[in-house]
């Protein structure tokens, strides 16, 4: 089966985790393993040995070719330095990457309870000034057994290689050897959306960020691309984002190649991933939701929806402003989804299912410029404002998404752990978040700093994101976080104020990784990177 390259993006050269959310293909468990390089020869040998296992970005358009396991690899700045990558190339990396995520903590708000003091031990050493985590290998699989098989393959590679060491120190059930993760599904073996949950009970993994040449099904540009200003319920309302927002060596939204280290073959088709282990304070979340939900006029589920911008069942608030409508929609969706999985849907039902799937994604905020449906400060409206930052003044900007098109990211990763006691914050449970972007400071760090931990771009002064904001008691916040939930002038419903929101998500580890193309990996393995 051949694949026609119709864009400038060579998916065969790009690592699979960049262009695919593996969970959608049934690879619903994962392990994240980290290594240290103690000698460049051994380091290169390790890369050469992993190379044949690395999964590429070619689309899996036929379910028969979906592998049972996928593997990908990334390097921190120190990791690249330990592989003897030339100085000139190293200097071409932007400072966010070369400093590493821990050193960027004041910008991204990893302070207070998210300070590295509380991180998993693997991320801290006595000599804390230099990154000591060098390589990240991610293994995604259908079942534990698939993970274990691949993991053992890697152990065999290691056994032969005294210069590369597997780092330990992950909290959790792996004996510290790796970070496990697994989708939370209502049924064990089928992942459809919005079937996957996270530990606060929200459906996750609903949107796909869609860029030129990503290889995804065309329809997913709706809601996933950038807004054109036309009807968002149709394909005309959306266009693919420029590939260069997510891949080095390709034109980006500013009509140029993103900054990248040379030689060009080194960076082309590579990208950056921020790996973050995010602990979730489930007890605090549930307690807050119960207490405030009892007072909030529309009830607890509506409050949860206002925080996120989607109902916990996945229905977007802006299209389904009340609970009954949202439940009805998802009930119909879920019933049809079962039929699709069982291959028993009539053609009419298939059409209906496609329609409903679209409704999960095909919206913007132009019919909600007052925020009475989806609050300005809700999570999805902050992380992906679509055209909302025009504040209703269409044509004020060059394009409707002018202020958000360059702040998009690809989200990968899975939840980890399980909640044994929903009244407690303790325990190993949260989300492993992998954030893909071509420019860490313009995309991930900007969104984290300006849109998660601050509110000025939304006219919300210092208000942080209710779910992901760092609500630690410091100047500007008394007793936790705050959020105004807009009322409605039409029905005389006053706004509702939530205060004392505890910090619900805490960072427990992570770093910034360069994810090279397959070509670059080959060159690294051979030690032939030469920027002369």
């Amino acid at each position: 089966m051949t694949f026609e390259v119709t864009t400038g993006v060579d998916l065969d050269d790009i690592q699979g985790n960049v262009v695919k959310a593996y969970g959608r293909y049934g690879l619903i468990v994962a392990r994240y393993v980290f290594f240290q390089i103690n000698g460049p020869v051994g380091g290169r040998k390790f890369v050469g040995n992993i190379l044949p296992l690395v999964t590429r970005g070619m689309p899996w358009s036929d379910s028969k070719i979906i592998p049972r396991v996928a593997t990908n690899i990334g390097f921190t700045y120190e990791g690249l330095r330990h592989l003897d990558i030339p100085e000139v190339t190293l200097h071409g990396f932007p400072e966010a990457f070369s400093m590493g995520m821990k050193a960027r903590r004041e910008i991204i708000g990893d302070t207070g309870p998210s300070l590295y003091d509380y991180w998993d031990p693997i991320w801290n050493t006595p000599n804390d000034n230099k990154q000591h985590v060098h390589i990240m290998v991610t293994i995604d699989g259908k079942e534990e057994k698939d993970l274990e098989d691949r993991y053992q393959e890697i152990q065999r590679i290691l056994a032969d290689n005294p210069e590369v060491k597997q780092l330990t120190g992950h909290r959790g059930p792996s004996g510290g050897m790796y970070q496990p993760a697994a989708a939370i599904l209502p049924t064990k073996d089928k992942l459809g959306f919005p079937g996957g949950k996270e530990h606060f009970g929200y459906s996750d993994g609903i949107t796909t960020t869609f860029f030129e040449g990503c290889g995804e099904e065309e329809n997913l540009v709706i809601g996933g691309g950038k807004p054109t200003g036309k009807d968002p319920r149709t394909a005309a309302g959306w266009a693919p984002l420029a590939a260069g927002e997510f891949l080095l060596g390709h034109p980006d939204e500013a009509c140029e190649y993103p900054e990248a280290p040379g030689p060009s073959l080194f960076s082309l088709n590579g990208t950056f991933i921020a790996y973050r282990k995010l602990h979730q304070n489930v007890g605090s979340f549930n307690a807050y939701l119960d207490a405030q939900g009892a007072k909030f006029p529309d009830g607890k589920e509506a409050l949860a929806a206002k925080f996120a911008g989607r109902w916990r069942n996945g229905a977007p608030l802006v299209s389904f402003p009340n609970e009954e409508g949202a439940n009805k929609f998802i009930a119909e969706f879920a019933a049809l989804q079962q039929k699709m999985w069982a291959d028993s849907a009539s053609s009419q039902e298939k059409e209906r299912f496609a329609e409903l799937s679209l409704q999960l994604l095909a919206f913007d905020y132009s019919n909600d410029t007052n925020g009475s449906r989806c609050p300005f400060g809700s999570h999805i409206r902050r992380t992906n404002p679509r055209s909302a930052l025009e504040f209703g003044k269409t044509k004020a900007f060059d394009v409707p998404g002018a202020l958000s098109n360059r702040r998009r990211i690809l989200r990968r990763g899975l939840p980890y752990g399980q909640v044994d006691d929903p009244t407690s914050d303790n325990g190993e449970h949260g989300v492993i978040m992998l954030i893909v972007n071509a420019d860490l400071s313009r995309q991930f760090e900007f969104v984290q700093q300006q849109w998660m931990n601050y509110g000025n771009d939304f006219g919300l002064a210092n208000d942080p994101d209710p779910l992901l904001g760092n609500h630690e008691n410091k100047e500007g916040r008394c007793d936790g976080g705050r959020m105004t939930i807009e009322g409605d002038a039409g029905t005389n419903k006053p706004p509702y104020f939530c205060d004392r929101i505890p910090t619900l998500v805490e960072t427990r580890g992570g770093d910034y990784f360069f994810v090279p193309s397959l070509t670059c990996l080959r060159m690294i393995a051979l030690g032939i990177i030469d920027p002369t």
Binding site: I107, A254, C255, F397, A402, R442, N462, N492, P494
Partner: protein
């Protein structure tokens, strides 16, 4: 030496232009003064407190005699001063994406101006012509331009509300109060200090703080 005062960032950029192009620019700016639509994009961006463009023709550098030599420059010079929220590094993309044509009109004729899209050359051009502020004062460092405008909305609504509500029953008051809240719902957020604008800036702040401490002790 700092371009930062709380939530405001002081950008100073000096660019040369041919004197005859400068005439065109001044004409354009004159028209812009009269047409608010020219600045609609800037206003919607809402990041700016105050910004100004000053064009100094070759013979117009102030000369106070007393032995001060007369300037003999070939070009006219445009000085751009802006007070906006966020740092230039963080927000150059927002300006360039939102109002590229406006920016191009403002800098039309500046020697070797590369246009505002793509953004990397534009960023480099402005940064290489940027002069750092020696001293920056902001009367309300905890307030962005949005906050200042929002505060005016609050005052404008609150004063008549107070006047109107002097002699009402509690129930009438509650109804009016709820309507006031709906009216002001996007203004009811609290202000505080700025998120860290850059690590070098906060390092300088820390150093100054340590120096002050040391001086106080010794």
């Amino acid at each position: 030496m700092s371009n930062i005062a709380g939530k405001a960032y002081a950008m100073n950029a000096v660019t040369p232009m041919r004197w005859y192009t400068a005439w065109w620019n001044r004409l354009f700016f004159g028209i812009a003064n009269l047409r608010p639509s020219t600045t609609a994009g800037l206003a919607t961006l809402s990041l700016i407190h105050y910004a100004r463009w000053v064009i100094i023709m070759p013979g117009q550098f102030p000369n106070l005699g007393k032995g001060q030599p007369r300037e003999n420059v070939k070009y006219a010079y445009m000085i751009f001063f802006s007070n906006f929220n966020g740092s230039w590094n963080q927000y150059v993309d927002s300006f360039s994406s939102a109002i590229p044509r406006g920016l191009d009109l403002f800098w039309f004729g500046s020697i070797k101006y590369p246009k505002s899209v793509p953004v990397l050359p534009f960023h480099r051009y402005i940064t290489s012509n940027q002069i750092w502020t020696d001293y920056y004062y902001n009367a309300y460092p905890m307030a962005t331009s949005n906050d200042v405008k929002s505060a005016k909305r609050i005052k404008d609504a609150l004063l008549p509300f107070i006047a109107d509500s002097q002699r009402e029953s509690p129930e009438e008051f509650l109804q009016k109060y709820n309507r006031l809240l709906i009216n002001l719902q996007h203004d009811i957020s609290q202000m505080g200090p700025n998120p860290v604008v850059s690590l070098s800036a906060s390092a300088v702040e820390r150093n100054l703080g340590k120096e002050r401490e040391w001086r106080e002790k010794n």
